[in-house]
Amino acid sequence: MALTEDRPLALPSGDSNDGYTPTGVFTRPTAETGPRSWFTTVDHKKIGIMYGTAAIFFFIVGGVEALLIRMQLWSPRGTLLSANLYNQIYTMHGTTMVFLVVMPIGAAFANYLIPLQIGARDVAFPRINAFSFWAFLAGGVFLNSSWFLGGGADGGWFMYAPNSGVIFSPTNGIDFWNLGLLITGIASLTGAVNLIVTVLNMRAPGMTLMRMPIFTWMALVSQFLLLFAIPVLTSAQVLLMLDRLFDANFFNVAKGANPLLWQHLFWIFGHPEVYLMILPAFGLVSEILPTFARKPIFGYPFIVFSGIAIGFMGWGVWAHHMFVSGIGPISVTAFSLTTMFIAVPTGVKILNWTATMWGGKLNFSAPMLFSIGLVTMFTIGGLSGVMHSVAPMDTQQTDTYFIVAHFHYVLFGGAFFGFMGAFYFYWPKAFGYMLNESIGKANFWLMLLGFNLTFAPMHVLGLQGMSRRIYTYDAGYGFEFWNKVATIGAFTLASSIALFIFNIFYSKSKAKTLPPVGPDPWDSRTIEWMTPSPTPVYNFDPIPTVTRVDDFWYRKYGETKDGKLVRIASTAEVAQKRTDGKGIHLPSPSYWPIVLAFGLPIVAYGLIFSLWLALIGGIVVVAALYGWIMEPPDDPDAVHDDHGPEAHASDGGDAAVPDSADAVKEVETVG
């Protein structure tokens, strides 16, 4: 195990910055610790952590909005919020939770885990990765700044036109919504290109597509969905923006506009959107369940192909959101059928997870509990979803609380339970300490209780006829009791989140007295657990060669002839040791991603308030782009320098040995 003595992959070109003078003023930042290292980082792990942190911050914002909604609905004729403010709060709650919480948590895990799971040093375009995060944050902050600049958007998260026009919503809230989501859309699009290229191009030796961990597969499918769904939303938002800011006629019914245009464009985006939110959680659960059942995932190809099938079929069902909009019987029938069909691949996944647990030696740890929570709660949400595919039934349920119950079971009970499980599961890998297991279990049960108290009564309320998006209700319709239950549930749910945040700090303070967590605390299966915890900056040293699915597991375990599991090596033997990482070339940090990202909201403020400001923002963006292009290459020795590879030795100081190892090629300066 003498890794440090015998390191054939090491490059002799490691720290040869002496004698290299970059052109002009554009030196690259070098800080590795402190705030500046975070602002300029291009490390996919730091970016993933920042995505997660920002998403949890926005989750608290959206959660407070949810609590305000529930307090308003505590009793009939509630007076906490005015109708106008209520409209803004539920709109911003939905927008925040979808675009600033669930999507970025998916992005956080994708960023952190994909390079680790495929055995890469970083993503394909590290600087674009940093830009994606900062643009997401800039867009989210911009969107929420509307609270202080005249009020939030008030058209619902789907922002149906022409209700979202200037006549019906004269404040700037919807402009903030439009432009903020255009910015986060740019972030999502660049992130999607980046991660797809990473998965297709940067896998470790032997890591064929059908050996990739399920999470990487599901994240890949959801990035493809993003790649194709975001531009549809962008086109719709550009139309709405031109209508609101420049008096165009796309949704001006007086000039012959068709209001259904917005609904179609929005839901062509919107339905793939719901699948791209849930698929990363499906992937995470598919990592957690086999680990704690100590069995391989049941039917790996089926779970992969059902994910791909969901990705394809998700494009053919959008009009089921529009059954009551008068699209005609043929359209309703067609979309009703496709919606029923899409339940099949989802059902395949539920079957796979159940069969994975069947006969396994189940260990009910906190991550496992959350994962089982996903399987059960998502099944409930999925079944009420199939109910909606039946058009006559959907006509009854449209715009009632039944729909609210359905999509919270899918998005909270599905996606968020999966994310919570994954937080507990991957916490030691990212931060080097375990979250407290007992608090974790209490966290799960409290969350399960609060979640069901909040959203199960909404099924009843919906069937009783209580409308969504109505800021109050009269006494005597039978709505009082279940609304009170839901409000109590919402506060229970909030306390479970508080418990989770407490657990983070509690466990961190306790961790000092505990032995350091090893690379593989859960006895896991995939190669990200081979590397020390917290993950070293270079990820792997050396890059592992993969020979099959669950490669790491089969380095630890073998099978006897009668199929019994036998340990053949201890974790300490097969896991990698922390090395100094010398000789591994990693991409250098850069200032430009954050400069570019924060130029975008300046342009957006300018479009709303003064076109001069937009001009200034435009100059910042263009300057940042040129700074980005002109930035000196990461590594003076890399072949990406302005000299051919043969000019190496004369220029790069001590780099005399031809760089034949894999490290150099990992870094594209273009990214």
Binding site: F224, F228, I268, P645
Partner: protein
């Protein structure tokens, strides 16, 4: 598994690149072909009564001409013919998906009937 060696810069950098001028001839011929198609397109406007594209034939003829031009540019100028098939697949997935969703959307608006 592609193994790249550095000895043959520049042509190996570009997939399917050739060192002589033979490819340029192909490009010029392609451009002439595209120009001819464009001229035919314009003829449908200047001579609308020509039997080949008269009446209800006009839109199909224009669509076919458009598609031929589009795929010629994709295959020759954008090198899909000479490049790895995965690029063709990626682009087609976007193109076909766009055609699918938007044609279905126009159909729900009863655009054609």
């Amino acid at each position: 598994m592609t193994i790249t060696s550095h000895d043959d810069v520049p042509t190996t950098v570009l997939d399917g690149a050739v060192k002589d001028y033979s490819r340029d001839k192909v490009y010029v011929l392609t451009a002439i072909f595209l120009a001819v198609l464009t001229i035919i397109e314009v003829f449908t406007y200047t001579a609308p009564d020509f039997p080949l594209w008269a009446e209800e034939l006009l839109i199909p003829v224009l669509m076919i001409l458009m598609a031929v031009k589009l795929f010629t540019i994709l295959y020759i100028f954008m090198h899909l013919k000479f490049d790895k098939p995965i690029l063709t697949r990626i682009f087609y997935s976007g193109l076909i998906l766009a055609m699918f969703v938007y044609i279905v959307m126009l159909a729900t608006f009863r655009f054609w009937f």
